[in-house]
């Protein structure tokens, strides 16, 4: 093979490698189980992937600015607890710490999303104003948001029974589960923002070279803060969906979820060094992770071993990122 065709092949592999991997993965599962390619099962896979995909899309913005958001798992827990807790009537709460009438479910969800966006902004401000490495700022937020969740719930599960509250996680529109619809809608909106707006281009530019971008007259601090707001907001949406799917807010939900949420963009080709990546890649990465969990559950893999396998897949994806950076 000539050098040129090797280079071309490599470019194709870099671009479509994860899609190819997902296809092979699905075909293998289809051969192993005749039920895999039934519409019902595919919708199940999509439903099980939706939270990861949505949070991963937000994470992609943070990672494109050459950052990372480790706080997403804790944010999911905090926002799902807030949505359920604010909507609940005092009497129905397990430990009765907060009195009074519950808020209308839509208002409770709105407030939970606002808190997600706000904490995302705090992450961004700690990074650009406080000069903290994103790893450290969001690690601190990981601890703080989880702590807030435990303080707010007192460590108890908050039930969520109102159908409007759980609609976002458990509802259906026709045959389609609402989380799958949300995943598609959010993908389209975020894709538009990232590829068609000045802000989107500036997200890539900041991650490519912050100083050059600043010298071009771009307000780089605003760009970075906005990226973390998007990441926080997507985590909050994930929290609301999860609360609906579980019919409750659980203070220990989504512990360790940041690993999956980082793995999805990285498997989908987003660089850990910033400036490179796509949302369609993240979607594919999320489906690879989702299918992996789904497949291992179907095969009855030991849940402890599942952690090991996920870790290995993540390691391989990171190794691939380093490999493809080295020309």
């Amino acid at each position: 093979m000539s050098l040129k065709s090797v280079t071309a092949l490599r470019a194709v592999a870099l671009r479509y490698g994860s899609l190819f991997f997902l296809m092979v993965f699905w075909i293998a599962l289809g051969l192993a189980s005749p039920d895999f390619f039934t519409p019902a099962n595919l919708l199940t896979v999509a439903l099980q992937t939706s939270v990861l995909a949505i949070v991963g899309l937000g994470m992609t913005f943070a990672m494109l600015t050459a950052g990372i958001d480790l706080s997403v798992g804790s944010m999911i827990a905090l926002t799902s607890a807030l949505a359920a807790g604010l909507a609940a009537r005092a009497a129905s709460l397990p430990h009765g710490a907060y009195a009074g009438q519950g808020l209308p479910p839509v208002a409770a969800i709105g407030l939970a999303l606002a808190v997600g966006g706000l904490l995302g902004a705090v992450n961004g401000i700690l990074i650009v104003r406080g000069g903290m490495p994103p790893f450290v700022a969001t690690l601190a937020m990981l601890a703080a948001a989880r702590g807030l969740t435990l303080v707010y719930t007192g460590g108890y599960v908050i039930p969520a029974v109102d159908p409007v509250l759980t609609f976002w996680g458990a509802g259906q529109v026709g045959p389609l589960p609402v989380p799958v619809i949300l995943m598609v809608l959010l993908f389209v909106v975020l894709w538009f923002i990232l590829t068609q707006t000045r802000f989107g281009l500036h997200v890539y530019a900041v991650g490519g070279n912050e100083e050059t971008t600043r010298l071009a007259g771009v307000q780089t601090r605003r760009v970075v803060i906005s990226a973390y707001i998007i990441s926080g907001l997507m985590a909050a949406i994930g929290g609301v969906i999860l609360m609906g799917r579980l019919n409750s807010a659980q203070p220990n939900v989504a512990i360790g979820f940041e690993l999956d949420a980082i793995a999805a963009p990285v498997i989908g080709g987003t660089s850990l060094f910033g400036g490179v990546g796509t949302l369609q890649g993240t979607l594919i990465g999320a489906f690879i992770m989702g299918t992996l969990s789904n497949g291992m559950n179907l095969l009855g893999t030991d849940p402890y071993l599942q952690q090991v396998i996920k870790g290995l897949v993540f390691m391989l994806a990171v190794a691939w990122d380093f490999f493809s950076k080295r020309k």
């Binding site: 707006t197 281009l201 991650g207 490519g208 971008t213 007259g217 771009v218």
Partner: protein, 514 residues
């Protein structure tokens, strides 16, 4: 005395500009005046202050004192945005593009055309980018990723970007350093058409022939001071070189010629993909060889190649009659080579560690007993070299960070002396250190060569090269351009060879030297 023109069409006037960095007076009362529609060249040796002056003009650095006026009105420039708004743009020597973005995205970053607020009009953006690319005359797709273009293409994209800003003053810092002859010609055509439109270009280049081709006037800086301002027709190449280097070196470097002994290092036909083109030379025990050349001529690459940091594709390296493989710093150290790198703070020292630890670092295996560090021997070795090199430090436990530049440099050198190398390579050994310490470092080099060490010293200061070296090699664009024995070298002939001005003259000088 700066000349004050009373030209009505004077566009730019920078007067009495002063700028100091810790320990260096980088610009001392410098004046630069350029007329509208002129190409004004700015020349001087490395470190003369050209880049600092231009950074002040484009808002990348604040000035300490002085005034900047445009069209006779004083302006204040505090950041790059201010300069852009005033119509001043700059083409940087080191490229200022984002490698992952495409050509169009880079050109219009921060001022993207929009369809509705915030939404980029991609069609218009690429159309305009295409027009700029056509203007600068390169055949590149505006959607091509910048990181996949050649350096020359990237340079042309950068030029296209600067032109698209519609600036009335464009600073070009070594714009041709990575261009081919044809691309350079195209750039000159562009500059001429800019002139015709009344745009002023400030042109920095080490290639004096270019300045004679394109410039109308030239300002010479030396050691941060204004030397003169001339109409290009009134000066010759030799005049400019003389004004750029024109120092009286006097008796700053008194030194008897040393005893040249056997060849300790011989390099034969070294080629490397990174930069070196057919490098051959010899270094003898007991001599100091000076390696001159402009920044970017390949001197540091050569030093790093000899020390096993950079790879080479072709050629041979012999040490005392034996062919050696230098594929790592460990191998180089084993063969008795030491390198004191150019950047003291990031490459030579452990700033947050003690003087004693810094001196002993490379020799830890030698100073160990049964694989355990013998701190008594470390202290003794450190004590010995602190005394021998006259390092002024309150104690061996002082952090190196807290010492002066000169004392830091002595420690960087001491680290090698503990290993007693056969060959010591010093890259800009006296940059940024005060005069007294400089003299001590020079005396130390002389003393070491007397003891039989072979010393290769890279320096951008010609008086230092002339004062300290027994023999002088000059590099130009990755090649050995010339070689002079000490008594035949002058600043002028070295500078001529280093600027590639007259390869004929350089070659004949090399012929004489043999």
């Amino acid at each position: 005395m700066p000349v004050h023109f009373t030209m009505p069409d004077r566009l730019l006037s920078m007067e009495h500009i002063n700028k100091s960095f810790p320990g260096v007076h980088a610009l001392d009362d410098v004046t630069l005046q350029a007329s509208a529609g002129h190409v004004h060249a700015l020349v001087g040796e490395n470190g003369a202050g050209k880049s600092t002056l231009m950074k002040i003009l484009t808002g990348a650095l604040p000035k300490d004192a002085g005034t900047i006026s445009l069209n006779g009105r004083e302006v204040s420039i505090h950041n790059p945005g201010d300069a852009l708004r005033l119509g001043i743009s700059m083409i940087h020597q080191e490229l200022n593009l984002i490698p992952y973005l495409d050509v169009g995205q880079n050109m219009f970053l921060g001022r993207e055309p929009t369809r509705s607020p915030g939404r980029i009009d991609w069609a218009t953006l690429y159309e305009r980018a295409q027009a700029q690319l056509k203007l600068v005359g390169i055949d590149v797709n505006p959607r091509a990723i910048v990181g996949e273009l050649s350096i020359a293409q990237q340079q042309m994209v950068e030029i296209g970007k600067a032109l698209s800003l519609q600036a009335r003053l464009i600073v070009m810092d070594e714009p041709t350093s990575s261009l081919t002859e044809r691309e350079t010609e195209r750039l000159f055509e562009l500059i001429r058409s800019l002139k015709a439109q009344g745009v002023t270009v400030i042109y920095i280049s080490h290639r004096l022939e270019e300045i004679f081709e394109i410039a109308d006037r030239v300002t010479v800086l030396r050691d941060g001071k204004w030397v003169g301002d001339y109409t290009i027709d009134n000066v010759t190449h030799a005049d400019l070189v003389q004004k750029m280097v024109g120092r009286d070196i006097g008796d700053m470097f008194p030194r008897a010629p040393s005893e040249r002994q056997n060849v300790v290092l011989e390099v034969k036909h070294l080629f490397s993909a990174s930069f070196l083109r057919d490098i051959s030379f010899q270094l003898h025990r007991g001599e100091v060889v000076g390696l001159a050349g402009l920044i970017g001529s390949g001197r540091t690459t050569l030093a790093r190649t000899l020390f096993g940091v950079e790879k080479f594709e072709q050629g041979e390296i012999w040490i005392e009659g034996q062919r050696v493989t230098l594929n790592s710093p460990q191998a180089a150290i084993r063969h008795g080579i030491g390198l004191v790198p150019e950047d003291r703070k990031t490459q030579a020292l452990f700033l947050n560690m003690a003087v004693a630890d810094n001196i002993a670092m490379s020799a830890i295996p030698k100073l160990a007993r049964a694989s355990l560090i013998d701190f008594g021997r470390v202290r003794a070795a450190a004590q010995e070299y602190v005394k021998r090199l006259n390092v002024r430090t309150p104690s061996l436990q002082q952090l190196v960070r807290n010492l002066s530049g000169g004392n830091q440099q002595k420690i960087a050198i001491a680290r090698w002396l503990v290993l007693n190398p056969r060959i010591l390579i010093l890259d800009e050994p006296t940059r940024g250190i005060d005069v007294g310490a400089k003299a001590e470092v020079h005396a130390l080099m002389t003393q070491l060569s007397r003891q039989g060490m072979g010393i290769l010293m890279i320096s951008s200061e010609l008086p230092e090269i002339l004062g300290v070296a027994d023999r002088i090699l000059v590099m130009h664009e990755g090649r050995m351009a010339a070689e002079f024995p000490r008594d035949q070298a002058t600043q002028e002939v070295i500078m001529l060879a280093a600027t590639g001005a007259s390869n004929g003259a350089a070659a004949s000088a090399r012929g004489q030297a043999k």
